[in-house]
Symmetry: C2
Subunit: 152 residues, 2 copies
């Protein structure tokens, strides 16, 4: 019985480790990567809206944004990752780790906007994509305004 | 008439620019970012297979891999990007730019494996995910073996 309890505790500890084991440098690198991948995708959609519209291109880019928006990036804001270096020194502001409700609201707005963009991209309606694209861009900016340091 | 032709040419040139204007440093940064984002996602799936399986976590990660696999990353191998610095010095081997058919085959295998992984992830069948995950991992490795330089 004692042994079983010990095994259960060890198992729990292992699971907890599996979740907690994301290293600070990796967490920062991965969030910088995921954001930069969305930056690429937003640029592609903008090029399509400004130039010749190619539905297929826009769908691909919107799907990347949607998948990343829904990926649960919150897990990459591990304790201690308010400082440190991934690909580069992190640009997160410490407030992101303490403004729980506000960050949750911004993340939720972003999520919703990304889902809407993927939906209208699939419809091929360029005017609707333009509107949805603007909303996604606004939700990126809202977060950056409050929680990302300016580039030196 | 002459003016119309000129305008048409200018318009064409602008469109061509819209496609060609990806800068080498951006292209390298974006492909490093997209690959690293998939690395994060593969790690998450592995943690779920090795520890407690959470269907939702695996679906999110698999969807990211699928969306990136289908995003048309080939566009990020712009001419001249066999050398240069994105987040870091590129690790691509020059052969990737010349082995057209072989690279296409590897990219196709990867694509198919990523689509299969997303499909079985949605079904929640952990054993099937394990198999599909192995195939995706193999397709990443196949490309790295031939086209990515070792880390110094
Ligand atoms: C909930 C907050 C939040 C949302 C939403 C958000 N970002 Fe960010 N973004 C950040 C933070 C914080 C950083 C800094 C990350 C770090 O360095 O650790 C960042 C960094 C970036 C970077 C910089 C990577 C580099 O080169 O340093 C880019 C590009 C970027 N975001 C684009 C986007 C785009 C595009 C969107 C929307 C499609 C978006 N972000 C949505 C918070 C957010
Ligand atoms: C068709 C080729 C190809 C496929 C498929 C591929 N990769 Fe790569 N990968 C590369 C190349 C080339 C680089 C180097 C990119 C650069 O530095 O410009 C790279 C770089 C990386 C990096 C390094 C980023 C860093 O930290 O330097 C990671 C991580 C990675 N790939 C993971 C993956 C994963 C995970 C998969 C599959 C889910 C995958 N790759 C599929 C070719 C590929």
């Amino acid at each position: 019985m004692k042994r079983k309890l010990l095994l259960a505790l060890v198992a729990t500890a292992t699971v907890a480790t599996a979740h907690a084991q994301v290293k600070v440098e990796d967490a920062i690198k991965w969030r910088q990567s995921a954001y930069a991948t969305m930056g690429w995708s937003m640029g592609r959609i903008k090029a399509n809206l400004d130039g010749t519209y190619n539905k297929d291109e826009v769908v691909k880019a919107a799907n990347v944004i949607q998948a990343i928006a829904n990926s649960g990036m919150g897990a990459l804001y591990v304790p201690g990752s308010d400082k440190g270096k991934g690909w580069a020194e992190t640009r997160v502001k410490p407030e992101l780790f303490t403004d729980g409700a506000k960050v949750g609201k911004l993340a939720g707005d972003f999520n919703q906007a990304a889902n809407e963009l993927a939906k209208v991209a699939a419809s091929g309606d360029a005017a609707a994509v333009k509107t949805a694209f603007g909303k996604v861009g606004g939700s990126c900016k809202a977060c950056h305004d409050d929680y990302r340091k300016d580039n030196k």
